[in-house]
Amino acid sequence: MNSNRAIELLELYLAGELPEAEAAAVEAWLREDPAGAEMAAAAKGMVSQLDADLRPPAGADELAAKIIESLDAHVPRRTRRSRKVFSWAAGLAAAAIVLLAATTLLLRRPATPTAGSSDVLSGNVVVDGDQTATVSDGSAISVAGDTPAVIRLTDGSQAELAPATSAVLHGRAKGLRQLVELVQGGGTFRVEKANGDFRVVTKLGSVTAVGTEFSVRIIPPQDPGESGMKMHGAMLAVAVLVGTVQVEFGGKTSVLNGGENRVFAEDRRTPATAGSRTAAGVPAGAAALGYTMKVIDEHPTTADIAPDNANHGNYKWFNGSWWDGRRPATNLYSTVNGELAISYDPTTDRGGCLIGTPRDLSKGALPLLDGSKGFHIEFDTRLSDNDPNHWPAVWVMPQEHSGGSGNPINDVYPGDPAGFERWMELDVDEGGLAKSGGAMCSVLSWTSHGGGYRPDTSNNWATGEAIDRTQVHTFGASYDPIKRQVTSWVDGKQKWQTPVNSSSVPEIAARQHFYPILSVWRQDKGTHKAYTMYVSGVRAYAGVRAYVPPANTAGAKASDKTDTLTADDGWCVLTCPKTCTPGKEFEIKLELKDLAKVTRNWKANKLPVHLWWSSKEKFGGYLGHFASTEVAQDGMLTLKGKFQLNGATAEAAYVQVQAYLTDDWGNDKDKAADCMGPKMEVVK
């Protein structure tokens, strides 16, 4: 047996899985080859490591028992699948443009609805790059292949979506029994007769079925070509077969009756692009806040990146951040036709990370963005391809936050407990994370101590429209310290904005100084592929006047001694400095406000609840996980357990208990704030 073959079989040999003859051959090789012992030791090490890493997880038997128990309440539906294929509306076929058609047909026989997820009955439906048989409410889908996909929606209606269609199936939302957001492509809908409206929304307008049959098409805009063809903007074509529909388009409401059809044309607007600037060349996002002072105007190349151990003050850009355990390899950066190319390499699972301040957070050549004056920053970037597993990001972080990395911790402020850090992170864009596949801006107010940082996050994850990232886009965001507001801009158009005085935009950001970051990474969905982000520009504009924030009021209140209840972006938070003490048995009561919203038919009167805790000092972990909690007749839900604070809490008198109810991971409606009543109290 040659060495290569023997090495291939080593693990199987060690596992005792080889037939006798092959095992003997491997043993002979081990005796004869001096490298054999070393190879065998390595193989043994790997097998041992796999045994350890893939060991049976704790709690599996208990979980299996719970699952089996829950089968009693979960009766599989045995409805017969309809194979009927619906034809396209004849009137629309004549229109010669069949990019998108949505037809609802009123059926007389309602089917059993399934709250929370839609079933793919036929065709190839893709979510996040994976083919799927079920689609959770809120998921963005696309139809792959050459055949239409038939989907049974959560209200029992059926959708037949044409190839290359993209849509978001929202399910029950906004007071509607069914909301379908069509992004592109087309299809046919059969709408079940039931209470509530069925609505199809597009970026142009919406069509609401009022017991009727209708079709909708989006006709994409036509651009002027070299031939000088007449151009038109995007249009919405609606044809009513039976009954009545209400169309919202361009701020106007129209009613169409059976037999009518109409094309609603959009005014041709001047496309907003990165060139949407004032006469003085200030981008709209900066001009809107009066931030006219350009403080950064860079077209970075590899020559601008500091070599290791260089004199920091001479360089504008740096390879790797303070939180990188090791610097990215320098071959992840190159200059291509004047653009800085930052790459991700799947063979090493590493991507470049370009930072506007040195790893030791000392001063570099680029100015920091003074939070007290506010700023608008924008990045011109494109990607080598549009794979959804990519994770390019352009963002800013404050120099004050060092995370205790050996650098001074400068984000602890007077009035806060010792070591209690606070800072703002502003993610101008994170490619591939948004549900729509478009740009995503996030702002995070981080607090707490190292080991237990917690963010208050706002972003536009759920909104927006897909973009082609192989084209250059300008991703911008502005921070207004006075209004405590962040605004997102893409290609010169405002895309998203936090509320004024957003909890995700901390007051403390006005005391901090921000530097730009461009990072190239990958997500955990699908195969990791090599890709490159090309950077052609980074600009920042600042205000002139410094805003002086009031004295510290936003920090942790060590003196708080009163139990309080707040809603925190889907969590119900009970702060209980007096009653939640280590080792104490607890009995917490939650009052559910609207049980119907959070109860799946197969989990009637049983809900999963997550309960976890943290103190000011440290993130604690899960206090209890109640996979199937009985809901009492009066809608009260009682949780019992014991405060196990791990013995590591330095300040156990300030405990936050957070509960979260969910009926379905993908369901946007299941926020605790929506489904919980005002009562959440420790009663024991």
Binding site: E11, L54, R77, G325, P455, H625
Partner: protein, 175 residues
């Protein structure tokens, strides 16, 4: 082991609820370990496991019995994990980079970061075989019985899985 996974699900489809119970008891540890590698969160992994099992149960109830139940179940579980991660991203801590979250450093993922990344190189069948071997401690013969596949197919898949992992680990060590 008398019944393959496929036979258990076929019996379930025919109305034998206990058969699905046996399927659940047999495979929960494998799915849970798989989900732990995906979501780095014990309770999230438990919920994803439960959700995946129930979705499979629902499918089987509609006479949709996958020919390779365990790889199919792991595909559902992967989907559930993705949904969990999306929900978590919206509702809880979501650092831009994993390194920026000290909470994440203590998550189950950080116990086995190399394995998480290396497992990506395996196809579904190889991942299932590897897990049945190391999570359940089954012999190749037993794995073949459960999956309804010849022992040679199982052994070859396990050998390929080891080779891929070895190559991945070796490359990372050199890198």
């Amino acid at each position: 082991m008398n019944e393959s996974d496929f036979e258990l699900l076929r019996a379930t489809a025919a109305g034998d609820r206990d058969a699905f119970g046996r399927f659940v008891r047999r495979n929960t540890s494998v799915v849970l370990r798989f989900c732990l590698l995906q979501v780095c969160d014990q309770h999230g992994a438990e919920d994803a496991t439960q959700e995946a099992m129930l979705r499979l149960y629902e499918q089987v109830g509609r006479n949709r019995v996958p020919e390779e139940p365990l790889p199919w179940l792991l595909a559902i579980a992967r989907r559930c994990c993705q949904e969990f991660q999306r929900q978590r991203k919206r509702n809880a801590a979501r650092p831009l980079r994993e390194e920026d979250s000290l909470v994440a450093r203590h998550s189950p993922c950080n116990e086995v970061p190399d394995l998480r990344h290396a497992m990506v190189a395996l196809n579904d069948f190889e991942a299932v075989v590897l897990q049945l071997k190391h999570t359940k401690g089954l012999r190749c013969r037993q794995i073949g019985e459960q999956l309804g596949r010849p022992i040679g197919t199982v052994t070859a898949a396990l050998s390929r899985a080891y080779a891929k992992l070895r190559a991945k680990f070796d490359r990372e060590t050199e890198g």
